[in-house]
Symmetry: D2
Subunit: 361 residues, 4 copies
């Protein structure tokens, strides 16, 4: 199977380009009987929608989603759920200037070299706009996980460039354009972004995602580990360069006596493992942290080459997020939800008859 | 497909437990005509072999591999390559004391809760010994990549607990039991490990892996990204809690003008992207860094529960690596090689007719 | 992967129901650089279109297809090709009478029992109308196979109910509504169908499909055999109950000295094997024959039960093909083309370096 | 995934050649807690064992199977089940005479042309001896299906060359070397085979397989149909050239009023559909019939070419079944069992919460 499908049993197939007529997705494997309507997907899509604040791309898209199949009288039928999101605000001319050049840090060069042809408009298939499909599919997974297992998946912006944002509470996260878990830092972030935008540069970010109330037992040894599939899901998001589960890179300097989470009759006494041991969920929170690189399309002039291999410079006009990380939270949540739902189904397939022998108090 | 197979076209299937009669692997999809003999696999297996220094488990295993199929008169035939590695030095009694308890940080608990039964001897399927199969398969991938494309895959120990080991040269890496890229740090590492072993504790590590001379164009949008598959491959290695590509988490604080690698007619002027843009190889070195947690089996007493949910304590006798990271280098190399070979075949399948239009000088 | 995707490297994902807003498909893995426009798909879709003669369903559908992605400036880009076919002439009321009953021979019963819910309108996902997606995808495969390898895929109606139609020539096949290979039998078929339609009953059919100029070497041992994948592809077509390759069931009574195709320096002296030996193409014509059962929706009253398990009778008004086989030829061609293209890519992936050592004269 | 793996959730990977050291298999995805020992596999292997009568190859193999993993204290653990069957009675010299030639009807030619190299000893990977792995895996599936759902899978020889063998009873099937369902025909079959063997020729056969007590609801639309997967499984068996489900090719001449199985409150009133409607099991017997071609290795001289393309003749000494169909019954049963178990798990994954709404009396 080529690269545009994701998941084993809960499987998402995606298509579309930034400046084509539409993006579309097909979710296959969703259990029947789930109440589902366009609004369920729209709600999540609106969370990542561009133009929601002056700190993100000003491209205007309603991102209106239409479910085309797999739902009958408000309930999923168990057949493939196809949905479509039409593109509206394409300004291909924005790209006229760069069509023959490669933007540093962008996929322009690799796509052309791999395929021999490329859709230069807005990065074509490589555009971060493809993530609308992930968010829509993730909305289905989130809803099923919540209704069937009480699982909650949510995330927040943990760092914006140099500014670390320690977690304070979930309350404020959806109340601000940054998904900041600390309302008191908003002003600081606003100021930083205004200066950044002015400078024509961009910056990276860190996003943390957590899945709560995940039952013990999801995930498969040895290559189908839950954390391995999460790592792939996160690294497949545009601009992601790093993934951590639990203590992540902090584990390197830890002692075993410090890292290994002890247990008591009521459960684990710590969560350095991020809710996964041996590739299988422990029943604790599944905690993931990702690093997003700075947007590659910036207004500053950069050295590059053109499609003839000649030296030149490029700078991107267009409407770009100075920090893709700001809108990455709903996307990371969506990918985590899809992986969890896939493994929920995979676990039920093989171990549907098993009752976990150990009951924690 | 359940979790014991890995790869799309170059596909490895693995079986075996730490204290069963044998480990085995099946490599499917290897092109025909590759010269291959047991020694090619053995050479790599010996690099990860236990008992090679006092700093790793003293379990004595020859890890002798036998190729059972897919090779005829010294050449691969294109059919499935099956191979077997018999276990020799099992001391199941070492585990008598812990059979009814869960080791903190270990998969004991999750396996039992998922499957309702578990092979408690040496962690069964969760044992790091399973990686012999990855290393054997990786040896095939390494050989093919080198002979067909001149690709070289190698790695080194970048950090041992608190001790960072800046890269100095490849020369020393295979000359010392630590895979240290700096011969002058060996003494320091020796001393640290002796004290650690004495203390009965364990420690984490960081391993860096690099693939050189990878052609441009390997990897697929959007979910089948080369870096996404690398992330899954690395996170599927026992004890790995974090994966970085290129600048990794350092990207978070970088500016776009700093991160985005500029280009010149001779190629890229930097490699923050780690040889991957838009999920497709750039033709630069593919650089990966992983975090390995400290060994969970330690000699210090830890709080835990037994299979009846009762509080108890556990400490592991047995023969364990105080730092699994020390032997992880050949394993990480193997996984990277398998992913690259898989994508080399996937790319040839779809783009076998394409000549990259841009020729760098 | 759930049941709505088909193929390994050339992968089709399909969605849509007979009375939903639209059918859609995603073709992933198509090589870049193939010239492709809506008309290429439309041409094949028009061959299977309903309402083209009085002998098939009078449902009026333009079956207008719109390519939504994966094509740029008239050429495939190597990314996912999404396409959509809107439904136009739904008459759901036709089904009011049967919504609560199960039509004998139809999937009504199994869908409801499997999923607990079903889209009763026109059979929902089980409708033969889903085959528009196969035909559209097959058009892409046919075009690539022809342009890249000179492979031609075509078929004809070999039997209509009791009337066997021996092959006479390809010329007439696309000249008549039956895909009959013998123009002189048309009148006989017309008469038979008129009487059948009058009787309110339906009948089965046999369709033969042939792929010409298939290179030697496509197909994989042992489970990925070319003929095994063809069998699955054909049996996945609505109403198909049997598949034969080459001599098929006639092989049962054959002697080995009769069946085994002898060879000469110029090639094979017979084709009992249907162009496949050991699951791999021989370089001869690949010949396939399929049996299609009679349409299950007929106007005659039949004994059945309702959704409460109570005995009742059912007869279908609606607009149905009295013989689904009449329109099955383009569908069978499409499925064969998809399987061949998938294996062409799979073969190139593994054996791209191999030159067949034996040159036939 | 290349061709040596089979199944989605209950997945078999196979390796080995006729004259290599051993055949091996890996069954991944088997639920935990199933009681399993070597004998369970051996029992089925003995049913297909060569040398069991003078009518089959006289190659002497104990076919002793050793389970190497996935079973602990007599129960499956849910991890990969690896098993090995050593080859014992290879007489490679038997093939010296034919190493440079292509046997008509055999895979010699296609393997060499595909891979550029081939293991000529006994057909290498193309040998029917590979089916030991299918039978061993099928034994696991049969046991689980029987214990978990009461499903029984069995088959019989329905035709031997020209001799049709109408079904009389299951009692005699395992009592004779032909798997004949009619004890009174044995003498006739014996005589026929003795004459055939004397003539140096071979003959084809038809085998019927039935799965009883299959629950309603197994199988997936649209491409993952239960019957589509059965067709692939059967066509992947060496020498199979045709597959029928239910009425099969007889459907062609049937009327809809005759073919479509009516229903009553107690269930279906016929089974032309062979237990599958819309690709989903109906709850009736799943009935499959396959055509096996005559053995290609015969003692009569045949025209062929050598590896240099020169005309020559070939006749096979060696020890071959004059009718591979005679031993095909356990193999076909095994493949059907594997497909059913795979779909049982797939169905539980997606529809584990569904109770079929209609209860038949």
């Amino acid at each position: 199977m080529s690269g545009n499908s994701f998941g084993t049993l809960f499987c998402l197939t995606s298509f579309g380009e930034s400046h084509g007529p539409a993006y579309g997705g097909v979710v296959d494997g969703c259990p029947p009987g789930l109440e589902l309507k366009n609004e369920d997907l729209q709600k999540e899509l609106d969370r990542r929608k561009p133009g929601s604040s002056r700190h993100v791309t000003q491209r205007r898209e309603t991102d209106a989603v239409e479910i085309l199949s797999g739902v009958y009288e408000g309930k999923t039928t168990g057949t493939a759920i196809g949905f479509l999101i039409r593109n509206e605000d394409q300004r291909s001319k924005d790209y006229a200037g760069i069509a023959g050049k490669f933007r540093p840090g962008h996929a322009d060069y690799t796509y052309l070299q791999k395929y021999g042809v490329r859709d230069a408009r807005g990065g074509g298939r490589a555009s971060a706009r493809e993530t609308v499909i992930r968010v829509a599919a993730g909305a289905i997974a989130k809803k099923w996980l919540r209704e069937r297992y009480g699982v909650g998946v949510r995330g927040y912006l943990a760092q914006l460039g140099p500014i670390a944002i320690p977690f304070r509470s979930w309350d404020s996260v959806d109340q601000n354009a940054f998904f900041s878990p600390d309302p008191e830092r908003i002003q600081e972030l606003e100021t930083f972004m205004d200066q950044l935008r002015e400078s024509g540069d961009s910056v990276g970010a860190r996003v943390n995602v957590v899945a709560q109330k995940v039952p013990v037992g999801w995930g498969e040894p040895v290559y189908g580990r839950l954390d391995a599939d999460i790592a792939a899901a996160m690294m497949s998001i545009n601009a992601v360069k790093g993934v951590e589960i639990g203590a992540g890179f902090a584990s390197v300097a830890q002692k075993g006596s410090e890292h290994g989470d002890e247990m008591a009759p009521r459960g684990f006494l710590g969560n350095n493992n991020g809710g996964v041991l041996g590739g299988i969920s422990t029943g604790q929170d599944v905690t993931v942290s990702i690093a997003l690189k700075p947007t590659s399309s910036i207004r500053l002039p950069r050295r590059t080459i053109d499609i003839h291999g000649q030296a030149t410079t490029v700078q991107t006009a267009g409407r770009h997020d100075p920090c893709v990380g700001i809108r990455a939270t709903p996307i990371a949540e969506a990918m985590l939800a899809c992986v969890l739902m896939d493994h929920a189904l995979r676990h039920r397939a093989q171990c549907g008859d098993v009752t976990p022998p150990v009951a924690l108090r």
